[in-house]
Structures are given as C-alpha cells and as structure tokens.
C-alpha cells in the first residue's frame, strides 16, 4: 500500500481548510503545476506584510490539497516573509536536508517521491505569485 495516503494525511486533505474564494482580495493569482496541469487560485487580503485573510480554489492531487489545507490553517496572521521561510524550510525538508517544519510531519513518505515535491510547494508558489501580481499592478 502506498505509504503517502495514511488516514491523518487523507483527513488533512479532506478538510480543505481555507478553501473558497475571497471577495475583493488585495492579491490574487492562478498558479499551475507544469508537471501535471494542476492549478490553484490564491486570494490574499493583506495588512502591509501580514496576511489577514486567505482563500483559494484548487484543482489538484491530494498531496497539493493537504499542503493547501495547512496553508489555510496557519497562514492568517503570519507575514509574507514568514511564509517564504516556511517554503524554504519545506523545500529543505523534502530534500532531507532538515527536519519536518511544524505541521508537515505527515508528509514524510512524500520525500521519497521526487515527482511530488512540486505538489507540496504549489500553494506557496501561488502565494508568491499573487503578491508579485499585486506589486506589478
């Protein structure tokens, strides 16, 4: 049986925390995973650097959905630089260069599947894309 799809992981994906679009977001972008065509549209409301509300619409695999759920549960109240740091920490974790960041311990079996690493990071990429799009507007 594939080790990725354990009960806790499936529950996390199933919660779809934070799913749903925001009205009048300050920043929004749709980001695609070039490997598989998955996409996530990320909406943010910002108070300066701080995220005050977040919503998203997702068409993606369970790995990406689970990661998006964590974002939905933890991003509000944090700053954009916190989230960039989190993204780097996840990247390092997936490459086995460091321990699991808080909340990501259920992703341990994903580390072995290099083709899925991008799925974990996609919600973070979407946040960055949304912010870049807002700045360039």
């Amino acid at each position: 049986m594939s080790e990725i799809y354990q009960t806790a992981f499936l529950k996390l994906a199933g919660r779809a925390s934070g799913a749903g679009r925001l009205d009048a977001p300050d920043a929004t972008a749709t980001t695609h995973n070039p490997m598989c065509g998955d996409r996530i549209t990320m909406d943010l409301k910002l108070d300066g650097e701080r995220i005050v509300a977040l919503g998203y619409e997702i068409r993606a695999c369970l790995v990406c959905q689970a990661s998006a759920s964590i974002v939905g549960e933890t991003a509000v109240g944090r700053t954009l630089s916190d989230l960039s740091e989190q993204r780097e920490a996840i990247r390092a974790y997936l490459k086995s260069e460091s321990e699991a960041p808080v909340d990501y311990s259920d992703f341990e079996p994903v580390k072995a599947h290099i083709s899925r690493h991008h799925c974990v990071l996609l919600p973070y990429q979407a946040i960055q894309d949304a912010v870049s799009a807002a700045i360039s507007d």
Binding site: M1, S2, Y5, C36, A60, C61, V63, H113
Partner: protein, 406 residues
C-alpha cells in the same frame, strides 16, 4: 499459432528483473518510453566495444566501421518507413524533428501562411508552431476533437484554406490512442497544395510503415518509444522538401566547404546533422526497427487488441471510471486513458505504483486537449507487445485497491 508473449517478454531484461522485495513490474507506460530488448542492448554494446569512433572524418579502420554502421542505420530506418536513405535525418527525437521542420520548412513560409494542427497534439507539435508564429507571423489553426477523442476531420473543409501550407497532425494520439485517417488529411492538403507532417511517435512501436504510400511530406518519430534508446529520433522528409530547406544548426558534418567568408552547405540529409551525431543511439534505433520488423506483428496486433478490450471492459465495469477515447477497437492503439472520479490521476498512479503497476497520470503533454475537457489530466495505460493479461489484471486489481483506500 497464437502470439507467444512469454517468448517476447523473455527478451526484455527489465521485465525479468525484480528489485528486492518489490512486486513484479507491470509496465504500462510504454507511451512515454518503451523498454529495450536484448537485441538492441547487444547491438549498442557491440558497436561501443568494436567500432566506437567518430563518423565521416578519419580514415582509420574504426572510423570506417563507425561510418558504415551509422549509414547502415540510416538505411535501416529508411526501409522501416518506406523512404530513401537520403530522406532520413537523424535528430535527438520527435521534438527535435518537428522543431527542425518548424525552423527550416518554416523559413520558407510568409506572414499570413497557415499551419493547421489539432487540439489532440502533443506539446511538441504545438509549441514549435507558436514559436514560428512569433518569428514570422504565420497563422496557427487547430482542428478540434470529437467526443470520443479523435481529431475531428469533418472540420478539415472549413479549416483548410488556400493559405494552408502545412497540416501537422499526430498519426496516433498519445492521450486517447486514436489513429488518424491519413488519407483524408492528405486529400485535404493536396486540394490546396499544402504539405502534411505526421507525428509518428506513438505509431511506430507497432511496426514498419510506408510513408511514400501514405503520401506525407514529413514523418517524425523517436527511438525510445519503439524499443530503442533515447537521444535519437528520425525526421523523414521527402527529398524535394529537404533539398529546398536551409540548414537548422551550423557546424561540422553539415558543410560542403567552409571559408571565412562563406559556407556551402552539404546536401540533405547531412545538411541537417551538424556536429557529431548520436552514433550509438542511431545504431540502437536501427536494431530496434529490425527487431520489431522481425516480430509476429499480426499476432501482436491481435494480442494487443484483446488486452485493450480486457482493459476497457474492466474499466467500464468500475464505478466512477470514464474512458477518454474511442470505445471500440477500430483505428485505435492500445493506449487507454481514463479518469476516476473524484480522484486525481497522480494519486491514482502513485497507489498503482505501490502495487508494481507503472502508468502515467497527468496531462501527457497535451494540455490543450485536457483544457477542452476541463480536466487536469488522465490516468493512461499504454501497452506494448510484451504486456500480458497479468498486467491488465494487476491494473484492474490495483484500481480496486485505490478505490478502497481513497
């Protein structure tokens, strides 16, 4: 006599190699890359150990042997597709072959000239034409797909115009397995004096063909999908077309004479093969073509049609599964795409992998088609002649496990 699949399987070391503790391999991702038989591996090993050298350059014994082997490979590929050796350009694969045509045939096109593709094309037969559109203002049009995943040739009448210069279509669609009715395409092209390019990447693993009889100007395919190595492919271009095309890349091998002021280019096919070519891969690809030609191809076709029917029947009986593509066995390859509602193709593929079943999940480099269906992708089982009923049973059983888990 029935097709002897066990005898075929015995020739593929990777199918008989079970890694420690892993389930046996059910390799159903042949549309991405097929495996290599002993005959191909041996031909490359023999070349590397007895004749490795550069080609068309030195006069010593090894160099002559390498040149003979490389030019022999060209002749084998010419026989395989029913063309003349001078019409065979070795490239690094289908993608490189199509890009070569987009650059060199494309160099003769004017702003407003039209290239017609289809929504079922692999990205490698879409993006080079978009790049040509950027460079020279051609108009790019696309045939839609029918409900059952074929190129909708009914639309040729309104999409082919007097400005159409090239119709570039897949010979068989890598997502749905639908085989294109080439005669109809050629007729439409001829009615306006256009050329036809076929992407044969998925078609050639099923045996030799006759491009001259098909009546197409360009035919492109890859070694690694037809039981040969990767890093090698073929562009077959009709001789008058190649003769009229400027070179693609500049360098060694493609010249007739170089001075610092001016270079005269070699005749085709060398004009299009700048630099040291992939010599051993070409030899491997030719060995694959010969190996394939020597198989019981009629038997293989019946064998694969039966496996395809077994798979489609099994899939159709499972709740939530929709086969994307032709439902019958007519004019289709053993390539079966499906969705498993509400699951994501990568999750399905990942769990199948844990049961030893290798399939591909995703968009299969055919995003325009996926978008036309509003899906992210499909799960695709693509079969080769060494697959057997155990492989299909493992697929269907694996899908039941997926259902139970997710």
């Amino acid at each position: 006599m029935a097709f002897d699949v066990a005898a075929v399987r015995a020739q593929f070391p990777i199918l008989n190699h079970t890694a420690d503790g892993r389930p046996p391999l059910h390799y159903l991702d042949n549309g991405a890359t097929a495996q290599m038989p002993d005959a191909v591996l041996a031909a490359m090993q023999a070349h590397e150990t007895t004749a490795r050298s550069n080609v068309h350059r030195s006069v010593h014994r090894l160099a002559e042997a390498a040149t003979r082997a490389y030019e022999g490979a060209r002749q084998s590929m010419a026989r395989f597709v029913g063309a003349a050796a001078e019409e065979i350009v070795f490239t690094s694969g289908t993608t490189a072959a199509i890009n070569l045509v987009a650059h060199c045939f494309g160099a003769r096109l004017q702003a407003g000239d039209e290239v017609l593709v289809s929504v079922l094309e692999h990205h490698s037969n879409i993006v080079p034409w978009q790049m040509l559109r950027e460079r020279s203002g051609i108009v790019l049009k696309a045939l839609p797909a029918t409900e059952d995943g074929r190129i909708d040739l009914e639309r040729l009448d309104d999409l082919v115009t007097p400005r159409t210069r090239l119709i570039a279509l897949t010979h068989a669609a890598n997502v749905t397995g639908a085989v294109t009715d080439v005669a109809r395409v050629v007729e439409a092209a001829q009615s306006v004096g256009a050329e036809v390019l076929l992407d044969g990447a998925q078609m050639v693993p099923h045996g030799p063909l006759d491009v001259t009889a098909l009546g197409v100007g360009f035919y492109c395919f890859s070694g690694h999908k037809m039981f040969g190595p990767n890093g090698i492919g073929v562009l077959r271009g009709r001789s008058d077309l190649l003769a009229d095309m400027p070179p693609f890349m500049g360098g060694g091998e493609m010249i007739a004479h170089v001075s610092l002021d001016r270079t005269r280019y070699a005749e085709p096919p060398m004009r299009f093969e700048a630099g040291t070519p992939p010599i051993t891969p070409a030899i491997g690809m030719a060995a694959a073509a010969e190996w394939l030609t020597g198989q019981d191809l009629a038997g293989a076709e019946a064998h694969l049609a039966a496996l395809t029917a077994q798979a489609i029947d099994g899939l159709s009986a499972m709740k939530g599964i929709s086969v994307i593509g032709p439902s019958g066995s007519q004019a289709r390859l053993p390539v079966i795409s499906f969705t498993m509602d509400p699951l994501h193709p990568h999750d399905v593929a990942q769990i199948l992998d844990s049961h030893g079943v290798a399939v591909r999940g995703g968009h299969h480099c055919a995003q325009p088609f996926m978008d036309s269906r509003d899906i992210a992708g499909t799960v695709r089982a693509s079969l080769a002649l060494y697959n057997d009923t155990d492989d299909i049973d493992a697929l269907l059983h694996g899908l039941e496990q997926v259902r139970a888990l997710l």
